[in-house]
């Protein structure tokens, strides 16, 4: 029931928002819907051990053997919680941003939320694909309609990337479907498809490209900095905090267990690519003058680590990745809120044009510093837990032959991350004020409240992560079991 509600509430309220006329009305309505969704998700977390509350199954396209099947496992619930928490925060932090055709904007935002929830909960491949598109299409419209001046070129690129990925995945899904025993889209059928090594080796890439684009992993990333820079901040928040998780979840739920052999064979290649991306993106982030692009490249670096950790196929790496999916969402949301506030106050996000904000806005600086240190995974912040487990898992990986190299390369990100994050802080917040920042003022109550929520989440997860780790224990175990190739390899040998 919870699972269905998490999709229905944003879907219905989103459709209703299209019909509203008054701006104030549509904003309040959307915020209310987002808060209700959040409350539902909290209720869901509170009762998540109760049988059945996170599962839903209905007939859908019976002739195709596809059913409307939803289920919340530890990872799905955590991502739903992240999505549900993010939306009120996003709406509130961009409360005063003006949009033309505001009802369409909020309607599309809520539709995206419904799509995201669906992606995180779908246990049927066709349904997964449906929600995948439901999440993407509205956000594509938002970027192309409400974006910055270069939005047409940028969204075209975004479009090429993601839609090529999606179509490849659709082809893959249909093929796997044809190979399942009894032709079914159900996830368990997919897990038991028993694809040959040859089939896996090409099918793997059809899926992986779709997920890699979404994450994004180097070298599939160039749509991202441009899109983040050109989109309205609310959309950027959705893209960076939530949508990138679609790619990671896709790999964890639909790639590793469905194509275990190919994952095993390609794992090291992808991990090396991903960690190269960490160094690559971090070096680029060091040289950015646009805060949005800096955050975008920083995100590529963080996602690179998660991608490498996934392919380590180690329990601690998987649990680390999952908890980091949540933490990364919180942290990058915090970053965007700070960027948004600065943009609103000073009309620019150019690092070289700012400086000395700490003198004018000490409270904002305080929050920024905590978020910045969470961004570089200082112990007792949320990101440390995830990174610690991921690094540990990469080194302990049983399937990787280059664990040490991958870990050491990724480790450079620990140093470079500090370089670009502290540089951002120094140039924007510290030093003398200039003519522009001289007129600055500190943040007001509702901004403080939002940032306090973010910082609270950072610290709670960083100091006492054990309940979250427990919740992720089972799902990481089962992913590993389903994608374990060692017994199969043994069988082949005999």
């Amino acid at each position: 029931m919870i699972a269905l509600l998490l999709i229905l509430v944003p879907l219905v309220s989103g459709l209703a928002a299209f019909l509203m006329k008054k701006e104030e009305q549509v904003r309040t309505w959307s915020l209310l819907a987002a808060i209700i969704t959040f409350i539902i998700s909290i209720l869901g977390v509170a009762v998540y051990t109760a049988p059945g509350c996170w599962t839903f199954r209905a007939g859908w396209m019976g002739s195709l053997n596809s059913s409307f099947s939803l289920k919340g496992d530890g990872m799905g619930i955590m991502l739903c919680l992240l999505t549900a928490l993010s939306y009120p925060v996003i709406f509130l932090s961009t409360w005063t941003t003006a949009y033309k055709k505001v009802h369409n904007f909020f309607g599309l935002m809520l539709l995206t939320q419904a799509g995201l929830m669906g992606v995180f909960l779908a246990m049927d491949a066709l349904l997964f694909y449906f929600f995948w598109e439901l999440a993407l299409i509205p956000i594509y419209f938002i970027c192309s309609q409400w974006g910055g001046e270069k939005r047409i070129a940028v969204t075209f690129k975004f479009f090429i990337y993601t839609f090529i990925g999606s179509l490849l995945m659709l082809v893959g899904i249909l093929y796997v479907y044809s190979r399942t025993p009894g032709h079914s889209f159900d996830i368990t059928a997919f897990y038991q498809a028993g694809l040959s090594l040859k089939e896996q080796s090409w099918l793997f890439w059809l899926f992986f490209v779709a997920f890699a684009v979404k994450m994004p992993v180097f070298p599939f990333h160039t749509w991202q900095p441009d899109t983040y820079q050109q989109s309205p901040t609310a959309a950027t928040m959705v893209l960076s905090a939530l949508m990138v998780k679609m790619g990671l979840l896709g790999v964890l739920r639909w790639l590793l267990p469905v194509f275990p052999f190919a994952s095993y064979l390609n794992g090291d290649t992808i991990s090396l690519l991903a960690v190269t991306g960490i160094v690559y993106a971090s070096l680029i982030a060091m040289r950015q003058d646009d805060m949005k692009r800096l955050v975008a490249y920083s995100s590529i670096a963080h996602i690179g680590l998660m991608c490498a950790a996934v392919f380590a196929e180690d329990k601690s790496a998987l649990q680390g990745t999952m908890i980091q999916m949540f933490s990364h969402g919180i942290n990058i949301l915090g970053m965007w809120i700070v960027v948004e506030i600065i943009e609103r106050k000073f009309g620019t996000v150019k690092i070289s044009a700012l400086g000395g904000i700490a003198q004018k806005a000490p409270v904002l600086t305080f929050f920024f510093v905590i978020i910045a240190f969470a961004n570089i995974a200082l112990p007792l912040t949320n990101a440390f837990i995830g990174e610690f487990l991921m690094f540990r898992g990469i080194l302990a990986s049983r399937v990787s032959e280059h664990g040490v190299l991958i870990m050491a390369t990724a480790g450079l990100g620990i140093i470079l991350g500090a370089v670009y994050t502290l540089r951002l802080g120094r140039k924007v917040f510290f030093g003398e004020t200039n003519a522009l920042t001289e007129k600055g003022s500190d943040i007001v109550f509702h901004e403080r409240a939002i940032l306090a929520i973010i910082v609270g989440a950072i610290l709670i997860l960083g100091i006492y992560p054990q309940p979250f780790l427990n919740a992720l224990d089972h799902i990481s175990q089962s992913i590993l079991k389903n994608s374990d190739v060692l017994p199969m390899l043994m069988k082949q040998k005999h």
Binding site: K157, Y161, R287, L378, Q466, L469
Partner: protein, 635 residues
Amino acid sequence: MNNVLDIVYWIPLLPLLGCIINGLGRKNLSKGAIGFIGSGVILASFVLSLWVFFQVRGGNVHTAEYFPFINVGNLKIPFAFQIDQLSAIWLLIITGIGFLIHVYSVSYMHEEKPVHFGRYFAYLNLFVFSMLLLVMGANFVIMFIGWEGVGLCSYLLIGFWFKKKEYSKAANKAFIMNRVGDLAFLIALFMLIHKLGTTTFSEIFTSASLAKLSGKEMTTITLLLFVGATGKSAQIPLYTWLPDAMAGPTPVSALIHAATMVTAGVYMIARANLMFAMAPATLNVIAIIGIATALLAATIALKQNDIKKVLAYSTVSQLGYMFLALGSGAYVAAVFHVMTHAFFKALLFLGSGSVIHAMGGEQDMRKMGGLSRYMKITNITFLLGCLAIAGIPGFSGFFSKDEILAGAFAKSPVLYALGLFGALLTAFYMFRLYVTTFKGTFRGTDEQKHHLHESPAAITIPLVILAVLSVIGGFVGVPEFIAHGAHALSGFLQPVFKEAYAVLPKHEVEHSTEWGLAGLSSVLVILTVIIAWARFSKKPDLQAATGFGKILENKWYIDELYQGVIVKPLNMLGSFLSNVVDKKVVDGLVNGVGRLVRYGGRQLRWLQSGQTGSYILMMVLGMVLIFIVQFFLRK
């Protein structure tokens, strides 16, 4: 026993509470209240630490687990503390000297606005909290929390006056250089977890557990941990952040960048003493890096003119001695020197703060001179500090340095000779500093002269207490060859190092030889002090340095080297990747694909207008619509 020590969590918790109260209440609390809370919590922690100290005498070890921090699969990392003799010593140093410096700060920082005053004390309390976590942690992860926590506080306090661009640059440099070391620390930690499945000290540091590591693994892990230590404890190659860290307020330099944080590396290796004892190759590296750092920093200190810079390089140099001791297997000597150094270096920094305060912020010694007439207490305490660090017999530095040199001699006479040479350099630059600052005639402006005064009691009382400790502090470690069984510290620490000493190769040195070595070094040091005094009181070192002196003044151009070899190339690489590779190559490829799609579309006449986007979109939308319709029809 266990029940009694269960309250040790209050030791770090009190400073944390102080941090929160002062941090949140800084707008509403008066400066007096802020200072009282900030110092009071540290005093309370000190009292508790003192009590703990007496509880663990005789070999008691106390561990307490509070909650599971990270439990994944077989790996269990509890949030747990461990108190033994080693941590008890550090607890006393951190809270004891920490308290004095808090009191000192109340006066030193009184010109700050209340908001910044509160921020300062919040940071300082947070630092003490982190440092306490570092030494109380019962496993490497809790230690690492403190380890990075002190780095954070150091960053915050170096950049405390954040208006000055240079200061926040120095803060960034400190944090980033520490991060390089931290990465090595982390990799060592992951290797330990991988091989032994635990991070808990009491589980790792047993012969049975360490036997699971091959010699190569042991060497790799210990070397990585040592790289971590070079970051935090400012050793070659990661030392250049510490002199820059002098941008922070002077009490911060005294507490963090002299007495406590920079000794974290020494603590960590002393904590892992058994593992290092089983990795002789690493010990050699540590000894060599230690003595090299000691000498390099001492030569630079010879030609610095900023009073705090001299002390900073002196700190780097003295830390080098501690690592020389660790590398020589003289663990007790290293801990002993940490303690005496904490006394006299905190004293010297606080003394320099008193001077800077009186001089209205001036730090250049060339503009000082003759201050002994105006600041009697500062002068005398500073002189005592100089005598202590120079190693004049009877003063605390004599005992600890002598023990290090004896340990070095046992390892290799060459190390001893180099160490002795460094000790002479130390005596020389310290008395260059002392004479230039306090003797001769005043060289500042008339206005400065008019304002010269002794500092208030909140500053002088800590100076006096530290001076007393600097003088008598060495008597807890009277060497065996002078009086049998008089080395109280060695006896106290014996349970910690017992196993390691059993593993380390024995180099017995005759008592007569030790007498000879101590006598030699004493005579030479006293001679050096006399020479330096005579030379600089006759003619202060005021001219611009030339030739070799210029190289020393410019710190052997190591900063420039790092800038040219690491920082600039990385920046250039970043720009190249950003402007050329990412925009032209990778993105170009994608745009190429995009064009191909359009081109293909045109060729097929499948999409006539070339607006691929909208067509594919329509297609997908259509599909989505079909799905939706299907769903509702079914229901």
